[in-house]
């Protein structure tokens, strides 16, 4: 019997190729989209979950803002960890990590720049689950020792055993290091990517560390992670920590957060990396489920519509002795078969699309035996949905009266039609919400892109590299000036300057300082501001706009210059609504007095997700030891084709001046744009999935139309014979559906409004939800409806009425 069911199901699928194709492809695309989204979502949720991770927490700083504490800094003091461990018995381990954005390793001829490393206490290995695969942990207590991941070890030493080897780290001068251990590569799903660890005691022997090693409550440059005892009441520990004040500063406090919450829930200044977004992940999961449910609703509609054509078969089976339950099972078997095909095709599609998707989101998602457990519960969900979506058509089809069924006179009940209309309405409701969502997301991204940044980043390339020869500061400054004038001689170069950092560079090279004395002579101990150094012509090259005063004069290397430029926001914070009044006034920080020489119009140093912060730019050569880090080259507006050639020439100049060095370049506009990468990707994903939802909704309407037209064949025939025009019939058939779509749309608008309003609140600068978005979404929904209905309505309207009447 089962064989018979499958046989007929197979032949039926083959006979109705278009129907089968649409149905299977629709389902397969939806399941594939669902699986990919779920893989992505579970990857995002898998961050920092390792053996024992539920006992690991990060300590961070809250700052007081308008009477309330808000998360202020992901980094803490070097005294934080040891003090908390000593004071709170629940804390059984602590590790301090001083993060190194980039280090240049030199092993003989081999020079390798590596990102993502840290100075770390050896307690690191008692907190994180990254055990040594070779070497001895005891040696890691000594200064100038190093632990590498196996990939980096192989890069530096080839297949040789790395442990026991010596190399040096170069950053203006050479610091010797001994490799004392190798760990396995650390999985990518951690917020604290790590390629190497340097022993914490190196903090006192390495020039670059300055006075960071001195125990203090002033410089919060350290990530602190703690491990708590297994039965700790976290809420009460948090209370104790936030209530403590070891640093004797009422304007800030320490706080605690679970390590596994960091990736999706933390977005503080000075994070180890830009984290993910819980709202994005939730949005995507919601879309995944909506798509899957839509596709089932669709299946219900198509299958029910199609079942009418099979009423004769049902009649014959009933006459031949089939019982209702047998027919239900047959129908369920068919939907199972169809869904099985769809599932197989979906798996194929997932394998096909995953590499593309991975490249798009920059992840390494995969579907295999090892992560089957992620998908398994959802597979159960998929099966359940299949069963449920098969059940309705099965009940409908098996309920036909045999005699009527044989004569093809099955009339759908009113309630049946209403159920299917309801399903279509639901589909269009969801589609309308998604269309509105897509439009809002892309409008917001457009809006961010179109915002004036207040700075012109076009055609500017930032050059930097590690200079591998021992230099003293004044010589370095001299050489950089040589490079500047050499670069200026290139015909395509418009201007050259040097700066510590630049807009879009994030927090990496930006200093933040708390405490400044305003021109009124009163010290604001808790005033947070950002500052960076730049040469005097920086403002020209970057096209920064002075609203009062001017920049500072160029100074000779080695002479301290205390002229600074403020941004408009900071001038306003200092109480100067007219910025010209602050020119020439004095502010004090770092124990020095600075003279305000100019105020620039606000520009966006961070992306537009953040609001504009108070900022100081100065000629801080003396603070940086001669090196500004970035040489910024502004090129003349030129065709894209010559950029590569220009870069070759620029690199040559660099190599002429710094023969022993590495060389990197970054286009400023691209880097700035990269801040919106996640949102842009989100927008594209949103568009893709909305497209899919529209496709499904169209398919559903297509199915329902074919069903209704079959029902109304006789009516159409009689109307035509009685003189109705093709257009009148066409309108008649469209009217009902359009009413339905209109109604769903009206319901969708307030919901979409609410949800998107919430999403927009993530941004400091938001686009307005304009009325045209809703008009456009409505038009799109109607267009989809008209197209899906018309395909068959036209066919029915122009069909020869005699035929439809004869079959009666």
């Amino acid at each position: 019997m089962i064989k018979n069911y499958f046989k007929i199901a197979f032949r039926y699928l083959l006979k109705n190729k278009l129907y089968s194709f649409l149905n299977i492809l629709g389902l397969a695309l939806d399941i594939a989209a669902f699986v990919i989204i779920i893989l992505n979502v579970s990857y995002e949720r898998s961050y920092d979950k390792f053996d024992g991770s539920e006992q690991v927490f990060r300590i961070y700083m809250d700052y007081k803002e308008g009477g309330n504490f808000v998360p202020g800094d992901a980094q803490t003091y070097n005294l934080t960890g040891p003090t908390l461990k000593k004071e709170f018995p629940e804390i059984i381990e602590q590790v301090r990590l001083y993060r190194l954005e980039k280090v240049t390793f030199v092993n003989g001829e081999k020079v390798i720049q590596q990102p993502n490393g840290s100075l770390a206490d050896e307690s690191y290995f008692r907190i994180f689950d990254n055990p040594l695969i070779s070497g001895n942990l005891k040696d890691f207590e000594k200064p100038n020792t190093l632990i590498l991941t196996s990939t980096l070890a192989e890069k530096l030493f080839g297949k040789d055993q790395a442990v026991g080897k010596n190399l040096s780290i170069f950053d203006g001068s050479s610091t010797p290091m001994e490799v004392v251990g190798v760990i396995k590569d650390i999985p990518q799903n951690t917020h604290f990517k790590t390629n190497y660890l340097i022993s914490y005691s190196t903090i006192n022997t390495w020039n670059r560390m300055g006075s960071n090693g001195k125990p203090n409550w002033n410089r919060n440059n350290f990530f602190t992670y703690v491990k708590v005892a297994s039965n700790t009441d976290i809420a009460s520990l948090q209370k104790k920590i936030t209530g403590s004040d070891f640093e004797k500063n009422p304007h800030e406090r320490h706080n605690i957060e679970a390590i596994s919450d960091i990736h999706l829930h933390s977005n503080k200044p000075y994070e180890a990396e830009a984290n993910g977004s819980n709202s994005r992940v939730s949005f995507l999961s919601a879309i995944a489920f909506i798509i899957l449910i839509l596709s089932w609703l669709n299946y219900v509609n198509l299958a029910t519509a199609k079942s009418l054509e099979r009423s004769k078969e049902v009649g014959i089976r009933k006459v031949a002795g089939a019982q209702r339950s047998q027919l239900v099972f047959q129908s369920l078997g068919e939907s199972l078969l169809l869904n099985l095909f769809a599932l197989l095709l979906a798996i194929g599609l997932v394998y096909l699309m995953l590499p593309l998707f991975n490249r798009f989101v920059g992840k390494e998602l995969f579907l295999g035996l090892s992560n089957l457990t992620i998908i398994l519960p959802f597979l159960g969900f998929i099966l359940l949905g299949t069963l449920l979506s098969g059940l309705y058509p099965a009940m409908v089809i098996s309920g036909f009266m045999p005699i009527r069924a044989l004569k093809g006179k099955v009339i759908a009940s009113r309630s049946g039609i209403n159920i299917r209309k309801g399903l279509i309405g639901l589909q269009f409701f969801a589609t309308a919400v998604l269309i509105i969502g897509t439009l809002v997301v892309s409008q917001q991204i457009q809006f961010l892109r179109a915002q004036p940044l207040g700075v012109n980043l076009d055609q500017i390339v930032a050059l930097n590299g590690e200079i591998l020869e021992k230099q003293d500061d004044s010589l370095m400054g001299e050489k950089a000036s040589v490079l500047e004038s050499e670069l200026l001689q290139l015909p395509f170069v418009d201007g050259v300057t040097q700066a510590k950092t630049y807009p879009g560079d994030g927090y990496d090279n930006l200093s933040s300082t708390v405490g400044i004395t305003f021109p009124d002579g009163i010290e604001r101990e808790r005033q947070l501001f950002y500052l960076y150094g730049a040469k005097s012509n920086y403002f020209d090259v970057m096209n920064l706009n002075f609203i009062a005063g001017k920049g500072y004069a160029p100074v000779l290397a080695g002479i301290r210059n205390f002229d600074i430029v403020l941004n408009e926001t900071f001038a306003r914070i200092m109480g100067f609504t007219d910025p010209s009044e602050i020119i020439g006034k004095t502010v004090k920080f770092w124990g020095e007095s600075f003279r305000v020489s100019g105020v620039i119009a606000d520009y966006h140093h961070f992306g537009l997700k953040n609001k504009i912060e108070p900022l100081i730019i100065g000629n801080l050569y003396w603070a940086y030891g001669g090196s500004m880090d970035n040489v910024l080259v502004k090129m003349k507006a030129i065709g894209l084709s010559s950029i590569d050639k220009n870069l070759v020439q620029i690199k040559q100049k660099w190599k002429d001046v710094f023969p022993q060095s590495t060389f990197n370049y970054t286009f400023l506009d691209k880097k700035f744009e990269a801040q919106y990468l996640e949102d842009t990707k989100f927008g594209v994903a949103f568009q893709l999935f909305t497209g899919l939802a529209i496709f499904i909704a169209g398919l559903g309407l297509f199915g329902l139309t074919s069903y209704t037209i079959l029902q109304r064949k006789k009516e159409i025939g009689i109307r035509r014979v009685s003189g109705a025009s093709v257009l009148q019939i066409f309108t008649l058939l469209n009217k009902d559906f359009l009413k339905l779509v209109g109604f769903s749309f009206i319901l969708a608008v307030p919901i979409a409004w609410y949800v998107m309003e919430k999403w927009l609140q993530e941004f400091a600068y938001q686009t307005k939800l304009s009325w045209w978005i809703f008009i456009l979404a409505g038009t799109a929904a109607f267009a989809v409806a008209v197209i899906s209905v018309s395909f068959q309505a036209i066919k029915a309207a122009i069909a020869n009425p005699v035929k439809s009447l004869r079959t009666e």
Partner: protein, 225 residues
């Protein structure tokens, strides 16, 4: 075998009630071949559907082998139907997606016959109907006469006690029609009870008795043999 007494059937729309069967009574004995005739709309097909337990009456009594079935629900009727009754329709009613063999096999599947036995019995009946060579073909590949022979084969494969035929020759030319009538006669001679609805006086002559109907009532009964 079949005894109906004061059988009634109404069709109701919102305002009008149409009487399809009006206190109809007659009896068909085992081994009999009865023809039911009458103009369109006289209630022939309604009667046949009730006799075939595809539809239920609104009043009166229907004894099938001495059992009252008038109040049976669909489940019980299906149970009784599949073991006792075979149907032949004017429009053949074969499933297009199934081959000749599979169409004939269908009733055996629903009565739970084992595959090996099914094959044997289907082959035997196809031999008898002389369409064995067409067993792998699909309905659309057959002529009307062949399709009706398949339909007859399907009706008899379960060895029903009674065959209900609704204008079995209505869609056939005269030579194919005669072949089908010969088949039914043969089956009757082998012991199967047959009740046939027909418009054709020619076909009716193959039966033992003609029941003539008008407006849901029996008007005459002519015994032919």
């Amino acid at each position: 075998m079949i005894k109906i007494t004061n059988l009634e059937k109404y069709y109701k729309t919102e305002e009008v009630q149409t009487i399809a069967l009006n206190k109809l009574s007659f009896e068909v004995k085992e081994g009999e071949f009865a023809a039911i005739m009458g103009p369109s709309g006289c209630g022939k097909s309604t009667l046949l559907n009730i006799l075939g337990m595809l539809d239920d009456p609104d009043g009166g009594s229907y004894l099938f082998n001495g059992i009252e079935v008038a109040g049976y629900n669909e489940r019980k009727r299906a149970q009784l139907r599949k073991h006792n009754i075979g149907f032949v329709f004017q429009s053949f009613n074969l499933i297009d997606e199934l081959s000749v063999f599979e169409n004939v096999e269908l009733p055996l599947i629903y009565t739970g016959v084992k595959p090996a036995e099914r094959k044997e019995r289907v082959h035997a009946v196809l031999e008898k109907m002389q369409i064995m060579h067409r067993r792998k073909h699909f309905p659309q590949q057959l002529s009307g006469g062949q399709q009706q022979r398949v339909a007859v084969a399907r009706a008899v494969v379960n060895n029903p006690k009674i065959i209900l035929a609704d204008e079995p020759t209505g869609n056939l030319d005269s030579s194919n029609g005669n072949e089908v009538m010969d088949l039914l006669t043969e089956l009757n001679e082998a012991g199967t009870t047959i009740i046939m609805v027909t418009h054709s006086e020619h076909d009716a002559k193959f039966s033992h008795r003609i029941i003539r109907m008008l407006d849901g009532q029996k008007v005459t009964e002519n015994v032919l043999v």
